[in-house]
Amino acid sequence: MNGQALLYGGVTVAFWSTLLVVGICYTIFDLGFRFDVAWFLTETSPFMWANLGIGLAISLSVVGAAWGIYITGSSIIGGGVKAPRIKTKNLVSIIFCEAVAIYGIIMAIVISNMAENFSGTTPDTIGFKNYQAGYSMFGAGLTVGFSNLFCGICVGIVGSGAALADAQNASLFVKILIVEIFGSAIGLFGVIVAILQTSKVKMGD
């Protein structure tokens, strides 16, 4: 068994066994009433959720963009050795990938502008509007992050194929570009939904 399989196997076993043991303990000692998701959601600070959303928005988008660029970039560079004419035209694939990162940073800035200070300390005094704000920002960050992640990967793989096809046969490039455009649209969907999610956010006192 190679190292990676061992590592992931071990981590999975550890994780599930911890959950199992904790669950069994709760059951045996009749302390199941202590397992309270509502308490967790109301006691944890909305700021944590908001900032996790902001962080995930930008970081997952950047991961997607980076992944796409590395896939496409390697193919362009490799294909460009034998067919140097593909270099300039195929940079548009890189730009599609980069756009994904730009969506991410724009959303991160938009979401972070909504984070305001509030003066409550207990669930009663914090108020439901602040909780809603925290969770919305988290959700929006996840939305934009994950959609950009997969969009970036998609555009990257398609762009890589486009570069190699272009190197073989110059007429193929334009057709494949259409596929890339469809792939890039999904990132935009993520941005639109995230904006809708945070449209009603009003954090503060």
């Binding site: 202590r34 967790f40 600070s45 996790l52 004419r85």
Partner: protein, 463 residues
């Protein structure tokens, strides 16, 4: 050279061995040590060292001194300290390897340089005061009480006999000067005197002793000693059982707190402790008005004359309900009310004080002002003028079986919200790290077209 070293060693060793042997011999009555030495070249006759623990009596001392003085020098310098005990040598003599801290450097040097010093570790007390008299009788001269200044003006006869007595002071820890300083000063006086005598080249016999012992330890008979160990801490308050309200035969509400304090704002906060009246053997609280049934329990504590209020009532209202989502019964402490002279103050507490109805609720600190679990019902309720504080609060309003609390559901949980937030964020970052590491680890360079034996790749210069 070797002989002198050996004699020094034996001198010191004998000194210290006798010191320790007497010290370890134990028991406890009043003795005074006596140390006698003579000038170089005029050794004292060898004496049989006294047995460890043996207390020398006056007659034995007289015979010792007689043999010493008949053959030794007849000029006797008696350094008579007010008080001296063997313990002074042990404590201030640097015997625990810290010779540099010794308060007797001159004395030790003298003993080392003298040929055969006489050390009587335990001279019985009343007789030690008789040393001047014994010496006077044996020498046949009357004593001269001197100090170093007057001694330097005196001319002594080397072959005659004289008795020069130098009184040395002593201080205890209770006096202003430390005993060590006084003993060092005395040692200094001894050194000065001996220097003067040596400068005049007169053979001498010197004796260092005291009139009375500095430490007298009384023997205590065992019957009077307290046998049981007593703890040195402040007396702990007696543990008391929880306050019980009984409807019928068995208790129905249980309540316990370590400290129960109410404060009222009348220009300034005025505090009153109620725990003495509520708990323990001195409890004077009355529970009239308390009720309990399957769904509602009310504990009413009635007091008199609290903070200038004639009547004062503290009311805990609890209720028990079935909650659908968790599928079990929970009880909540809905309100804590204060009724005082017809007025009312209400604190809400149902938000924070709850537990499954089979269990009791316990919290280390239930207050209305410090991480408050009790909040005034409205913003202008009388409760804003009051502060309640319970330390180690425990209450049970339902399912009471017997006089003990059921399992206590504590207000402090194992994981606090902060711990959860930290764990969540750390887990997320750990996932990110794992994923990144996974990607980096499985990077491989392409080796499909590697052909070590083939020609190198030719890169065309133009398109």
């Amino acid at each position: 050279m070797v002989v002198s070293v050996v004699s020094k060693m034996t001198g010191t060793a004998v000194f210290i061995a006798i010191l320790f042997s007497v010290f370890s011999a134990g028991s406890c009555s009043a003795q005074v040590p006596l140390v006698m030495w003579s000038s170089e070249g005029y050794p004292l006759p060898q004496q049989v060292a006294p047995l460890a623990g043996h207390i020398i009596s006056g007659s034995q001392l007289a015979s010792y001194l007689k043999t010493a003085l008949t053959s030794g020098p007849q000029n006797v310098l008696l350094f008579l300290q007010d008080k001296l005990s063997m313990d002074d040598f042990t404590v201030y003599g640097g015997v625990f390897g810290n010779k540099q801290d010794s308060a007797f450097p001159a004395l030790e040097a003298e003993l080392r340089s003298s040929a055969s010093p006489l050390v009587l570790p335990a001279l019985s007390w009343p007789d030690s005061g008789a040393v001047p008299r014994i010496l006077q009788e044996q020498l046949g001269t009357s004593p001269l009480y001197l100090d170093p200044e007057t001694l330097s003006q005196l001319r002594l006869n080397a072959s005659g006999s004289s008795l020069l007595i130098f009184r040395l002071p002593y201080s205890t820890d209770a006096d202003m000067i430390s005993p060590k300083a006084v003993l060092s000063g005395n040692d200094d006086i001894i050194r000065q005197v001996l220097n003067i005598i040596k400068a005049q080249a007169i053979p001498y016999t010197a004796i260092y002793t005291a009139v009375r012992p500095s430490r007298v330890i009384q023997e205590v008979s065992l019957e009077t000693l307290p046998v049981a160990r007593t703890l040195l801490q402040a007396p702990a308050s007696e543990p008391y059982p929880p306050l019980e309200f009984r409807s019928g035969a068995s208790p129905c509400i249980l309540f316990w707190a370590e400290n129960l304090t109410v404060s009222h704002f009348q220009g300034q906060w005025r505090r009153h402790g109620l725990s003495a009246q509520t708990f323990g053997s001195s409890a004077s609280v009355s529970l009239t008005g308390s009720t309990c049934n399957q769904t509602h329990s009310r504990l009413v504590l009635n007091y008199q004359n609290i903070l200038n209020f004639r009547t004062f009532r503290l009311i805990f209202s609890m209720s028990r309900r079935f909650y659908q989502v968790s599928g079990r019964h929970w009880f909540t402490l809905d309100q804590v009310e204060l009724e005082y002279d017809g007025q009312k103050a209400t604190f809400n507490s149902s938000r924070n004080i709850y537990a499954p109805s089979e269990y009791s609720y316990r919290c280390k600190s239930v207050t209305s002002f410090r991480d408050p679990l009790l909040t005034p019902r409205t913003a202008n309720d009388n409760a804003t003028l009051w502060r309640l504080s319970f330390d180690d609060f425990q209450i049970q309003g339902f399912n009471v079986t017997g006089s003990d609390f059921s399992y206590a559901s504590d207000c402090a949980s194992f994981f606090t919200p902060g711990v959860w937030m930290g764990l969540l964020t750390s887990l997320l970052m750990l996932l990110v790290l794992t994923y990144g590491l996974h990607m980096i680890i499985q990077l491989r360079t392409m080796d499909r077209f590697d052909d070590p034996k083939g020609p190198a790749i030719a890169v065309p210069q133009n398109e």
